[in-house]
Symmetry: C2
Subunit: 618 residues, 2 copies
């Protein structure tokens, strides 16, 4: 029997409250309503769907992946029914715009759902995530006619979506995309081949709406000649045309478009999720419609990409949570070793062993820290969209631009590390095919897809930090410092002595606060040096981007733990959740925040250390 | 076509020379001969065997693992022939004692072979490794009669061996072993069940010699009541009895013993290696012979375990080397991005991108660093066995005791990290089933088997550092400091200015030297504090063992890089190998040695941070 995934509702609720406060979502109309009873009902439903419907299929899909047949991709047993239930319960609609049939709930609430889908069944979760990302891009950039025809079924989940970027020679560098689109009346005809297309074909829904990057005749070379096209798997009939009740998907109620999955990748993980090679126009041309202005395809797709990046961060958090749940469960059950080495004594659950605790606390501190940061990004997105006043919205949008690559890269790196610790806690059992080994294999995709983590790091440093001369970063660092100072003030040694039992606790929080303050100051100084030097050193940003991202992420997660600790002290007083969070915050300060020093050293080492070696001598 | 594994002979040769000097093997009789032309011939043979015979089978075994049939375990296609060739070429014998048919070559040379077998085909490599480990235990602890009967075929590789420790309820804690041995004339009858037995059954050789931990009637509870037994799969006929030429293995030339593989694990990696559940005595009792004194089984098995631990370190180094070769090859071939962003420019190999270089240099610095340290352990073993004078041998034995757990844990952790970087450099291609994804899955076993890495860390800190009050560690740290001072002296800023081209180089080496000196001092102080405090804090060693091991490993690897840098400067002058090593040494000082700070902080945080949380609140 597979172990069910349990959405950690108490931690989720704590992270939601913390993110709402930190991002200031209370200025948003309807905030109270969304986070009152509505939220409780939504979260309870999320937990049920994740546990009862998605989670039981996770190992099924790993053992018998999606496969390609003459009639297209067939998903693992049970996935169709699960997806039907998922849509019937309205989950695709929760954060979608009401204009197109969505419920318009805050992204912060949606974040909890997205995390839980990823934790319960990452392969499955990727499918609706792409659809909501496409909704985002189409809502902002498609013509009203396209919106009217495509958005309602996408929002309802009746249709799904894919993002068609990569070609064999064009991965991280999309400037060499060769797929061509030729004008053909009101539409376009596309031809080419796309690879690594997640959920590019499947049997869960009647239609797949592909958002395809392609080049048009006479377009400039490079990224500036790429346009975005909507290419449906099935060309829908005109609105109002009756659909034959007995038809095969895409045959009797519309025309099959010339875009086909021609092969699937065999992958080490996310095996239920079909990763397709898509052939466009092998039989006369795939019909497509331009989305947004000609030659501005990449910019238009960014709405979807940014959504997917936040999605990877949230899914990865769920994957880490899954590893943590399995490892924690195992550590409570598995007995090895005896108290005091007494050969007659009873064997103790391994959670009593200090090193197992070290691993578990690392997992929890990283996972809940990643969650807090990802939720904070979602709340910031809510403010960027719906906050009161243009200045507040603009400020949130800038902060979000910085957070998006950070959350994508950091949460996915965290998931890989946490999954590995989960395997380690299981010992030999973890290496045998089973739930934790699937988590380990599934997690590894996160740092790769939707832009490798280096691509995120470069985006963060070159575009989000250097380009505005550090303004957005410094504003954020100042906020972190305020939180650290508040924590320090409450727990510094000069405060009146508390009871002996909490004295150690205070030292732990004071250490976290002091570490954070030191790191913020160093980060600010390092960023200033980088901004200044990057003008004359073209390779500087690329050389230090990745350790810079890690540094900032370790510090920002420490900031989230400082907020969590303050809140746990102030609000929860003496309950188990609060104690657990305080323990974790102290652990973060002692064991994990010090990682910042390593990243700082790598940033300080600059470019020469990387560029001096001749390629043949590396 | 699979990419062949190429033993990195130039780096191997450099590591051998460095280890020989650092451990002082030149005092050993026959040293000159072993490391002259003999070594060149052996290494060339190793490279051929790894490349031509073992490496092509690596993906074969992953795709179609060993399986259990009514006649026992059948290995993947080609493995039998490869093993026959492996034995015909004499590889199992190279380091074995001449008394029993071995060639008696130094372990330092054997280390290069072991590494290469692991890099070419980890699943395969585990099989002969267990046999040489068993030779070690039997050579030291078995009766002359057992030695005479079992050692020659084991040394020749005609028979293989397994180590039968783990039971379902007895993993890291062997004190609860339940397998029973009852006296039965000159031998014993064993009954019980062992799990996770690597190469417990197979069709490569005629016999498998199992070394089995079991309890005897009336034995004390716990580890002190466990004895070691030799339990052959086939009971050999008396020496001189002719073997029927047409017989099935184990049928016509001896009696099948009552020990059988009853199921195999399905694992995420090392899939060709059969991991067996072994049933003993289901049909009347498995005949076994006592090895070493009654109740001292664990101590007698340590000879094999220590051999296997060094083996894991060497195999893991090979696995890391494999990841490095694949990633380096890919980085030279794969083209993405253009010089200066010029959309018309040619795409550049990704090895020109700074962040790809950062990943590659991390891989190389960790891999060759791990190799150097593991070879140093092998050379120390040679001195411990054959060094001139009892004091030198005793000193080497103490150092080796400290090195063994360090090498096992560190090299296997390195392999996991390096494999993950290898996947990352491959991008989406790395996630698709293929050679690098196999490396990623294979590598993950290293930190788990032959004693988890925490078990190694605890052994290191509690038994090898605290028990002798730090004497062995301090002696080693002083040696590291001498090397760091020598490097610092040569490259400090106060030295006469060198040519502009090498000025940066010197700063890099000076940074490495200064970092090493600081870390050695801190480590010494931390170890002293731990030794002092551990008397009154029973959980201290367990709480900080793992970060302590990592800290020491990061520093010791830095020491190896200091030696490599000094040597590269002095001996190789201006060749590509030397430049590559110098680049790597500088990189280690800038990017990797700073990790020591994180581990130091975790060590400093002690036990409370881990033991305060209540189990239910973790």
């Amino acid at each position: 029997m597979p172990t069910p995934y349990e959405a950690p509702l108490a931690l989720i609720r704590a992270a939601i409250d913390q993110a709402a406060r930190a991002a200031g979502t209370d200025s948003i109309a309807g905030h109270e309503e969304a986070f009152g009873e509505t939220a409780d009902a939504v979260l309870a439903g999320v937990a049920r769907m994740a546990r009862d419907v998605l989670s039981p299929l996770n190992t099924v899909g790993d053992a018998a992946p999606s496969r390609l047949t003459a009639h297209g991709v067939v998903t693992p047993s049970g996935f169709r029914e699960a997806y039907r239930r998922f849509c019937a319960d309205g989950w695709p609609t929760i954060c979608a715009p009401p204009r197109f049939g969505g419920q318009g709930l805050p992204m912060l609430l949606g974040a909890a759902a997205t995390e839980s889908w990823g934790g319960a069944n990452l392969s499955f979760a990727m499918c609706p995530e792409a659809a909501t990302g496409a909704v985002e891009a189409l809502r902002l950039h498609a013509s009203p006619a396209l919106q009217e025809r495509y958005l309602p079924p996408l929002v309802r989940g009746e249709w799904t979506a894919s993002m068609c970027l990569t070609e064999p020679h064009a991965g991280s560098d999309l400037s060499t995309v060769r797929t061509m689109a030729e004008p053909d009346g009101e539409s376009w005809r596309l031809g080419g081949r796309k690879i690594f297309i997640s959920w590019g074909d499947h049997d869960l829904a009647d239609n797949v709406v592909h958002l395809v990057l392609a080049r048009t005749p006479g377009a400039p070379a490079g990224l500036k000649g790429i346009s975005l096209f909507l290419v449906p798997k099935v060309l829908p009939l005109a609105p109002g045309t009756p659909r034959a009740p007995d038809g095969l998907p895409g045959s009797s109620w519309g025309t099959r478009n010339d875009i086909h999955a021609v092969s699937l990748e065999h992958k080490m993980g996310i095996r239920a999720s079909p990763t397709c090679v898509m052939a466009l126009g092998e039989h006369g041309g795939a019909r497509g419609w331009l989305v947004g202005p000609l030659h501005e395809g990449l910019g238009c797709l960014f709405a979807m990409m940014n959504h997917m990046r936040l999605g990877v961060g949230l899914h990865s958090t769920g994957v880490a949570e899954r590893a943590w749940q399995l490892a924690r469960g195992y550590a409570h059950e598995r007995r090895q070793g005896r108290a005091g080495g007494d050969p007659q004594g009873a064997q103790r659950p391994i959670i009593e062993h200090p090193d197992v605790r070290r691993m578990l606390l690392t997992m929890k501190a990283l996972t809940h820290g990643a969650r807090s940061l990802a939720y904070y990004a979602a709340a910031t997105l809510d403010v960027a969209y719906s906050g009161t006043g243009e200045p507040a919205r603009a400020r949130a949008a800038r902060r979000l631009a910085l957070l998006t690559p950070l959350v994508k890269a950091w949460c996915s790196d965290v998931a890989v590390e946490v999954a590995s610790l989960g395997v380690q806690i299981h010992g030999g059992t973890g290496y045998v095919d089973g739930e934790i080994s699937q988590v380990y294999r599934d997690a590894r995709i996160g740092p790769i897809f939707e832009g490798t983590n280096y691509i995120q790091a470069h985006d963060l440093l070159a575009r989000k930090v250097i380009r505005d001369a550090g303004a957005t970063l410094e504003e954020w660092l100042a906020e972190m410092e305020r939180a650290a100072r508040s924590l320090e003030h409450r727990h510094s040694a000069s405060r009146p002595r508390e009871a002996a039992a909490t004295a150690g606790a205070d030292r732990g929080l004071a250490l976290l606060a002091a570490g954070l303050l030191a790191e913020c100051a160093d980060l600010r100084a390092a960023a200033r040096r980088l901004i200044e030097a990057s003008g004359s050193q073209p390779h500087l940003a690329g050389s230090v981007a990745y350790p810079f991202l890690q540094w900032l992420a370790v510090v920002a997660t420490g900031w989230q733990w400082a907020l969590a600790a303050d809140d746990a002290r102030a609000r929860h007083a003496d309950d188990a959740l609060a104690r657990g969070l305080l323990d974790c915050a102290r652990f973060y300060g002692a064991h994990l925040l010090p990682r910042a020093r390593t990243h700082a050293a790598a940033v300080a080492s600059g470019t020469d250390i990387l560029l001096t070696p001749r390629p043949a001598e590396i």
